[in-house]
Subunit: 347 residues, 2 copies
């Protein structure tokens, strides 16, 4: 009974376009809502403290492939990824709710495995699973999560605070989760051709773990505090370095220079990328799922983070008019785009 | 790669059984978590106030049928239902997050309709849509919602506080949403046989609205406050009166007597039930989706609610040993069961 005269395909807008389109008419009613849509988490004021709320939906066949992702790992990752969103606000995750829709393809034991992984992550991150919903789906598994965190008012960091001349800093190393995925996809293809061949995963432990069991960087929040560094902006790396840098630049109304040779990558990631004939830099820029933190700091804080094994300074913030660029190893400047792969435009 | 030696079908446990099974191993880490799984919402302490958090997942083909539910109504209902969970804790909903997974069967205009309905409900209930996730699904529409509310510490009402001799009270009337669904299902069947026949929905406005556009009873919270009544327990009616009474009895460790002749029903609901050869009482007990509030009060508060048009006293709480029973019009006692329909056991 639902009819509409015009029909515009979802693909015409893309995810970010659709979200922007749908959320532009939102009006806020409560003075306690400090920040609504548009950051890693919403910010709600309550008796002088800030409550952080983030939500996520994971769909089988879109976000995960159960032919090579064990359910326990999937459960663990689902929690870690949501905790990471609270870290990206410089807060501490406290409570989480989990809704799942499962088809009768799944047994109780399978759902137990999934929950087992979730509870393992809850223990690790000291987060309380406080609610949820369990329902039937007609096909496949869908997981919905919401996480609640807290932060002192003065501590919350948004995507929008980056200033010209700030330094762009990233934790850990990048591209590993993406290369882990390539290994898993390769072995899936081999298995499909010949189910008797054992998967060859040896020697890839680090990148497989980056893909299958990523950790939220909860350690970074107290570390920054102890170093007396409050980032001017912050985001977690779920979609790839390029996409996250663009979020910060757009929301802070600034440009940036990212230096290709500074992007931290593990030697295993680089090695496997070459084997797969992939450019390691592209893996870091567009691969995503590393769940490291990307943030900007005032130059005065440089001494506090330099040479720290957890941090790498990878660039700096510029005027908006300069755009968001990567300075390549050969010193040319390339405009960053969220799509990566084929979408780089030489200037 | 996921294998398990035993396989137990999900249907063996049912939804409530599965939730109980999965959540029994949860340990809580944060002293701010006052109440986790097991009520209409989780309760989290923050600087002397209580934050309420509830979550829900709606799956196409399981929770809604788009052949007769307009997307705008679906969006409205999704918000109302979640706001209702916060009402059931005697709190006020403030913020909400919405995640949707949509297949490419849906156009942007269709998703706009859905959001339009959601924003209409947000305006009505003065709730802020503060975040969400938009993703692809391989088939159908899945909506995940989380709602955040607040309440003074002293005001929060759990399912577990009912005491012997308390009165059982319900708001509004029951069974209407279920009879509305029967009308829609009938017209769908007619339409399937002959798509040229116009749906015959006339004269059913009230029950159709109960099904398609239910309202959360946000008005009851300040009303109870103004009457100086704090319920001893409360729940909202999503699954049917019988199921909700059993939740209160089980969690409060009590029994109850429900009087069949006291159950408030609209004359249209009763009339249509008879046309469909359904027992109106069964529609109220097992139909669900009325989103009225069911609560218990101390007998001393009886004078404050009696003869109030919004409230009907439908029974009283007894000792647990007496069980949860309905006293029929013919004065026999029937044990209440959550399943309804065929599952009544004569004592």
């Amino acid at each position: 009974m639902f009819e509409n005269t015009t029909r515009t395909e979802l693909s015409q807008l893309g995810e970010f376009g659709l979200i922007k389109h749908l959320t532009e008419h939102i009006t806020l009613h409560n003075s306690s809502t400090i920040k609504g849509v548009g950051d890693d988490a919403a910010v709600i004021e309550q008796s002088g403290k800030f409550t952080l709320l983030s939500t996520d939906m994971l769909v089988e066949g879109v976000h995960f492939d159960l032919t090579y992702v064990p359910l326990k790992h999937l459960g663990y990752k689902a929690i870690a990824v949501n905790v990471s969103d609270i870290c990206a606000m410089n807060g501490t995750a406290r409570q989480i709710t989990v809704s799942i829709a499962v088809s009768n393809r799944f047994s109780i034991e399978a759902v137990e495995e999934l929950y087992g992984g979730m509870l393992m992550a809850c223990d690790k991150y000291k987060v309380d699973l406080v609610g949820g919903d369990t329902t039937t789906s007609l096909s496949g598994l869908v997981i919905g999560l919401s996480v609640l965190g807290e932060a002192d008012k003065a501590d919350v960091v948004y995507r929008s605070g980056a200033q010209e001349k700030d330094l762009l800093v990233v934790t850990g190393d990048l591209g590993g989760a993406y290369m882990g995925l390539q290994i898993l996809e390769r072995e899936k293809a081999v298995y499909k051709e010949n189910p008797n061949v054992q998967p060859d995963l040896e020697g890839n432990d680090y990148i497989l773990e980056r893909q299958l069991k990523p950790e939220a960087r909860v350690d970074i929040i107290p570390l920054l505090k102890s170093l007396d560094v409050k980032p001017t902006s912050m985001i977690d790396i779920s979609d790839g370095l390029a996409s996250e840098i663009l979020h910060i630049c757009q929301q802070s109304n600034v440009g940036c220079n990212l230096y290709e040779d500074k992007i931290p990558m593990d030697s295993m990631t680089v090695g496997r990328a070459h084997e797969f004939k992939l450019d390691p830099t592209i893996c870091a820029l567009s691969g995503g799922e590393d769940y490291e933190l990307l943030f900007t700091i005032n130059q005065k804080d440089f001494d506090k983070v330099k040479n720290h094994p957890d941090f790498t300074v990878i660039g700096h913030i510029t005027d908006k008019a300069c755009g968001a660029n990567m300075i390549t190893r050969s010193s040319s400047s390339i405009e960053l785009t969220a799509q990566g792969w084929d979408a780089f435009i030489k200037k």
